[in-house]
Symmetry: C2
Subunit: 168 residues, 2 copies
């Protein structure tokens, strides 16, 4: 399940990238600086849109690296503009897509460590199911919610991306 | 991947159920009717909290039924109160947990049909990855966002639920 799930999370990052285009169009139409949306948050004590994008990227990047037995590439959290966020998403997708399916062999037996949980490990399957999937979709959903609650023209299909319906 | 993914989505519904408790506590502390939160929405043209819960439940229920070769149990969307939402979540979880792992054998070969896509089918794996996971987490995230933006004391750990970290 590792390769298909991580591929689908990568697809979710592609959807997230389209949110940026819609945010930009909305700001242009309403004649305000799109940076205001990038710094928006759902509640004063929640993190902003930029963080939600960075975090979604990091959960997908981390899954691809940990579960394929590679060091996690370091991406600095220094994005401030919408174009920098696009680049962050693009380099994340490029890294994840560089990992061939065969490299996830044995992912279930891999052990993942977090800096915030010293002395603890989580098995590959639990990491995928309990961390990667929920966190990736959580942060993409929060990014969606921030834009949507600010009037950006997003709908569920923007979130879902392509659905492989065929004649039958 | 069918049984573990659907089990994790069921865990997400259990997390969603704890959001209701926190919403209730918040309303009681601030002395307002928790029904106001149940009817809240992130934007005027988005659906309300009650719908988000119903929809999250239905995506998990649908996955468990379709992918195990059963008719989808019909749950009317008639909830109006927080206790009715608890019951909706509970009956969804009860149904999903009634499906043994063995009944997902052959799920990849199952074909799923949607009333909104006549003449079309989607394969079991695409349905799980492109519909079940994204929609389940989307609606639970929207429920979270509605409550969180209204001041309910929710955090990421409430969303994630148990994480199987072990000594290592």
């Amino acid at each position: 399940m590792y390769y298909p799930v991580i591929s689908q999370c990568t697809q979710a990052l592609k959807s997230l990238r389209t949110f940026l285009d819609k945010a930009e169009q909305h700001a242009a139409a309403r004649k305000f600086d799109v940076g205001i949306l990038m710094g928006s948050r759902l509640a004063p004590d929640m993190l902003d849109f930029i963080y939600q994008v960075q975090s979604a990227c990091d959960y997908v990047k981390g899954a691809a690296a940990w579960l394929s037995g590679q060091a996690v590439p370091r991406h600095e959290d220094n994005e401030k503009t919408i174009d920098e966020l696009r680049a962050r998403i693009d380099k994340t997708i490029a890294f994840v897509q560089s990992v061939p399916e065969s490299q996830y062999a044995g992912a279930a037996e891999r052990q993942v460590r977090f800096s915030w949980a010293p002395g603890k490990i989580i098995a590959g399957d639990d990491y995928l199911l309990q961390m990667t999937i929920p966190n990736t979709y959580f942060h993409i959903s929060m990014a969606y919610a921030i834009l949507r609650s600010n009037g950006v023209d997003l709908g569920k299909m923007d979130f879902l991306g392509p659905i492989n319906l065929v004649a039958g």
